[in-house]
């Protein structure tokens, strides 16, 4: 009422109404997201205004793309997406816990008349207990001493299996771990940009693979340039090999046609000289290599700036493959892959600036050309090459790869993992139920709420697989209570309790913490 006195047009809600709408909003979000949780969850199809289709399961993507208008729901979704920004995964499970906390409190706040303040205080105490529990459940992993491929594979597999079908997920997880192994340097921080992600619309998604080398999304523009080179020396340049206009206004003045011809030639001289320098270097290096190893080497030039047609022609005559306008990041990546340095001018070229690749070739799909650089020695950078028959599959795989890479990075930085398959949640449920007996007063209720919210996650995982929820759930809880040492999770194919970390389901420690 007071707000109305200040502004007649303002919409406002008070006390119980507020609680009701917030709780309904949470229930709504819960219903939407719960079908997407876990490896057996279902997808949602998002259709944009222009008709572009996106098929996804990732909580973060869904929350961003759904235009939520309810203010509370919108706030909830933003909090949960923030997890994705920091960690890369876990937004759906986070949302489930958050919404369950809210709507399970409904019973106590509305019908029993408990003040919300008491419940939130109880949540805080519950949280501290859970943190301690988390610490005890950690499984340490040290990547610096020994790159444990099996371990990282399990972590990555857990993450990606919740996004893509099983066979594809396993294959991808393998490749991702391999790619991280390639770029991993114990002294520096892991830079995920060094893994390039390239996609082509062809074949089936199972053909997605890791290329230990580079894949560039364009080819050389001259029809006579060789499309396949073996034993290739690679020169990466940042030099403009085309005619450049002057900064100030300029014009030529000539009196007859001959003068005009001379002027045309002089325009070309500048660029031609640069090209000649490159050709000189090529001849020098190829001869030298021929003497050293007796093998015929070829030459390729990758330029970040442009190359004009006449320069292309000159290079083509010398059998040099030249690509122009490659991405800035690719400059760094190619030098990491093949060796050498990126050069800024042609007058200081030396032999150390040139890298090496065993095989450089070009393929032509539809109307687009792709250049592959393979068989490199000691690569420090690689490419995930996605092949899928249509756009939305490519987007799905891209999102999954991004999440997978983040999960591995988190493991490496955190240096620990915990078991998955709902095992932490079940342990949390049992622990909180125990602690509930020790708490005096109304905060008992909050423990009850928190425990049930935690239990929702394994419940939903089971529901999505089509198994009998409550039966399987209680089986696990009873087994755990009998022997609370090993954390137990649920196997989604059979419904039996399993020791999750042996089966290899290990999400990151930090995700659980952030909740």
């Amino acid at each position: 009422m007071s707000v109305h006195m200040l502004n007649k047009k303002a919409d406002s809600l008070r006390s119980t109404n507020v609680l009701l709408t917030n709780i309904n909003a949470s229930k709504g979000m819960y219903e939407i997201i719960k079908t997407n949780l876990g490896p057996k969850g279902s997808y949602k199809m998002l259709v944009s205004g222009a008709g572009a289709i996106k098929i996804t399961k990732d909580g973060n993507v869904l929350l961003n793309e759904m235009m939520i208008q309810h203010p509370t729901a919108s706030m909830l979704s933003r909090i949960c997406s923030s997890i994705d920004e920091m960690l890369g995964d876990g937004s759906s499970s986070n949302l489930i816990v958050a919404t369950s906390l809210i709507y399970l409190s409904e019973k106590y706040i509305l019908y029993e008349g408990i003040h919300p303040r008491i419940i939130t205080q109880g949540f805080d105490s519950a949280k501290t207990i859970l943190f301690d529990l988390l610490e005890t459940m950690k499984i340490p992993v040290n990547i610096e001493n020994y790159f444990d491929k099996e371990f990282l594979f399990n972590v990555c597999k857990t993450c990606i299996r919740t996004k893509l079908p099983y066979t594809l997920a396993d294959k991808l997880a393998n490749e991702l771990v391999e790619s991280i192994r390639i770029i991993y340097d114990p002294t520096k921080q892991l830079d995920l940009h060094m893994i390039e992600i390239m996609d082509i619309k062809r074949h089936m998604s199972i053909d997605t693979k890791l290329v230990s080398g580079m894949v560039l999304d364009h080819g050389c523009r001259h029809p006579n340039m060789p499309s396949k080179l073996q034993n290739c020396l690679i020169l990466v340049l940042n030099v403009s090999l085309e005619y450049e206009k002057s900064e100030v206004f300029s014009s030529f003045v000539y009196s007859n046609a001959e003068d005009r011809n001379k002027l045309v030639q002089s325009e070309r001289k500048f660029t031609d000289d640069k090209v000649k320098k490159i050709i000189e270097l090529k001849k020098l290096m190829v001869e030298k290599k021929l003497k050293e190893t007796g093998k015929e080497y070829s030459f390729a030039v990758f330029n970040q700036k442009g190359i004009d047609p006449i320069s292309l022609d000159l290079l083509a005559k010398e059998n040099i493959m030249a690509l122009r306008r490659i991405k800035r990041r690719n400059l760094e990546r190619i030098t990491l892959c093949c060796g050498g340095n990126p050069c800024n001018n042609v007058y200081d070229l030396t032999e150390e600036d040139v890298g090496y690749a065993g095989l450089v070739y070009e393929i032509n799909i539809n109307d687009e050309k792709y250049t592959f650089i393979e068989e490199v020695i000691n690569p420090k950078s690689c490419t995930m090459f996605i092949q899928a028959p249509n756009d939305y599959t490519i987007k799905q795989i891209k999102d999954a790869i991004r999440d997978g890479l983040r999960s591995i990075k988190n493991t490496i930085e955190d240096k620990c993992v915990i078991s998955g398959a709902g095992s932490f949640e079940i342990a949390a449920y049992c622990k909180l139920k125990e602690e509930e007996k020790k708490i005096k007063g109304k905060q008992k209720f909050s423990f009850d709420i928190y425990a049930n919210s935690m239990l929702n996650i394994p419940k939903i995982l089971l529901e999505n697989s089509g198994l009998d929820t409550h039966q399987s759930l209680f089986k696990v809880i009873d087994k755990y209570n009998a022997n609370p040492v090993e954390p137990l999770g649920v196997d989604l194919d059979t419904g039996e309790p399993i020791v999750a970390h042996v089966k290899g389901r290990q999400p990151c420690n930090c995700q659980k913490k952030k909740k």
Binding site: I32, T35, K40, S42, Y43, K44, M45, L46, V47, S48, G49, G51, I53, I55, E65, M66, M67, P165, K201, R202, H203, M204, S205, P223, N224, Y243, K245, S246, S250, S251, F252, V253, Y254, S255, N256, A257, E258, R260, N261, L263, V264, E267, P309, I310, D313, A316, N366, P389, N390, D391, Y392, T393, S465, G466
Partner: protein
């Protein structure tokens, strides 16, 4: 059957090719868009089977819908389908009946082309066009089979006459006549220019500075002298024909006529590339004296007239590029025949990549479904239901083939299943209405389907079914609201 489509540009297309129809239909439903994308993928991977993949996917979804109504869980249905799919992967290679080995013989190539091109409904003269294409491909087939490129066979459509007047020739047909006076050259040397046949200009803006009247009069003379020198150099290099991908200035044309050099202007960069490929030369970037590697040889190049259209025909020594000159009554018909030929060439390319063939005409579908039914008996009850439904979905192809011929599809289907169970596993639907029998042996009639294409189509179908069944909600974006744009006051001028 064909469909007549009127596009939003009021262009009329008559076709039975699935992808052509789908392209011009404005489809709003997102799931149908997914299916449309399937056809598109099939089209650019293999060129054919677009209708097949569409039909199979919808039938699988239909059967899955039936199972959902019965109360099955989606995960179980998908599991059943995947089991069925794995079985298909195992048995398909065993159903191979023929491998095409000789790509240089007319008869063998016709066997590949016939089943593909006959689906395009090109009236009663399909025999003729198949033979024509087979002859063309065999003459053009390079020694190294892998070099066979779909772009190497061009199609030139000329209105008028009828399909029987069509012909093929080894070389290129360009639907333009030559500039200038010279219209015919035999045994000629050719160069290809990638720049214009005109005086060179600077990139920077140029100004002509004249000091006195003499310079003014001499300026044009100088230009002419230059051009004359350039053309003379070209003539001295023994060049008779210049093909230009750019502009031809009047002065240049004048001197070419004077020196008896034929000039031909081509507007498309790709045509120029093809001509270079045909003559095995590199094109010139600058107007220089050509080196020997830039001069190609042709048997003849001449301008002729077909149905009051002037064309230039290039007959080269090498067999790299061939052209089929299509004649027909209407543009629609010509377009349809061109699509038909395109499918045929793609079929040959697929055969080169993978020459295993299975029986066509709905035969292999019946074999697959019978095998899956046997397999389902070994599984437990839930999976068995799902695999049986999956098996049934393959019957749709045979049913549709039979219905389109005018037969009673259930009868034909039962007949075929009986024959297959008795061991005659190569019987398929007989579309020849003059015969009494509704089924016939696919092997005798040489009705084959490429194994790789079929497998890929089934792969795509299963992939799409998996994705679509796993969707539980579709969220459509509505354009977000904002302040309404202020309407312009009609009395105001928009000048400032």
């Amino acid at each position: 059957m064909n469909k007549l489509i009127v596009t939003h540009l009021n262009k009329k297309i008559v076709s039975s090719d699935c992808i052509t129809i789908l392209r011009d239909l404005e489809i709003n439903h997102p799931v149908v868009n997914i299916l449309k994308k399937l056809s598109e993928t099939m089209n650019y991977e293999y060129g054919d089977f677009t209708n097949y993949v569409f039909t199979i996917t919808t039938e699988m979804l239909d059967k899955a819908g039936f199972l959902i109504k019965e109360g099955f869980n989606i995960n179980d249905i998908l599991k059943g389908f995947m089991l069925g799919y794995k079985e298909i992967e195992k048995i398909l290679p065993k159903l191979v009946v023929w491998k095409c080995t000789d790509f240089y013989s007319d008869k063998e190539v016709q066997n590949i082309l016939m089943p593909v091109m006959i689906t395009k409904n090109v009236l009663h003269t399909y025999d003729f066009i198949v033979q024509l294409l087979a002859k063309c491909i065999c003459t053009m087939m390079p020694a190294n089979l892998e070099e066979f490129d779909v772009d190497n066979i061009r199609v030139s459509k000329i209105n008028g006459g009828s399909l029987i007047d069509s012909d093929y020739l080894v070389g290129m047909v360009i639907t333009k006549e030559s500039n200038g006076i010279v219209k015919k050259k035999e045994d000629a040397n050719v160069i290809v220019l990638n720049c214009g046949l005109e005086a060179a200009t600077t990139e920077t803006k140029g100004t002509v500075l004249l000091h006195n009247a003499k310079e003014l009069m001499d300026f044009t003379k100088g230009e002419e002298e230059q051009m004359k020198e350039i053309i003379e150099n070209i003539k001295n290099a023994k060049v008779d024909v210049i093909i230009v991908n750019g502009a031809i200035s009047d002065i240049a044309q004048h001197f070419c006529d004077a020196y008896n050099i034929m000039t031909l202007k081509i507007t498309s960069k790709f045509e120029t590339l093809r001509i270079c490929k045909l003559l095995n030369i590199t094109s010139l970037i600058k107007l220089d004296t050509p080196t020997p590697e830039e001069i190609g040889k042709v048997n003849s190049i001449y301008v002729s007239e077909i149905a009051s259209k002037k064309v230039t025909i290039i007959n080269a020594k090498s067999k790299k590029i061939g052209t089929i000159i299509l004649r027909g009554a209407t543009y629609n018909f010509l377009d349809e025949v061109e699509r038909c030929i395109h499918d045929g060439i793609n079929a040959v390319k697929n055969a080169i990549k993978n020459n295993a063939y299975v029986c066509g005409g709905g035969c292999v579908e019946i074999q697959i479904s019978e095998h899956l039914k046997q397999y389902s008996k070994q599984l437990n009850s839930i999976d068995s239901y799902c695999v049986k439904a999956f098996a049934d979905s393959f019957h749709v192809i045979t049913k549709i083939l039979a219905t389109n011929c005018g037969y009673n599809s259930t009868n034909v289907l039962n007949e075929l299943i009986n024959k297959h169970n008795k061991g005659m596993t190569d019987f398929c639907v007989n579309i020849n209405k003059e015969e009494q029998e509704h089924t016939t042996s696919a092997k005798e009639r040489h009705i084959y389907d490429n194994l790789q294409c079929k497998k890929y189509a089934i792969d795509l179908a299963i992939d799409a079914v998996q994705t679509i069944l796993k969707i539980d909600q579709i969220i459509l974006a509505k354009p977000a609201g904002g302040p309404k744009q202020r309407e312009k006051n009609p009395d105001y001028d928009d000048v400032f």
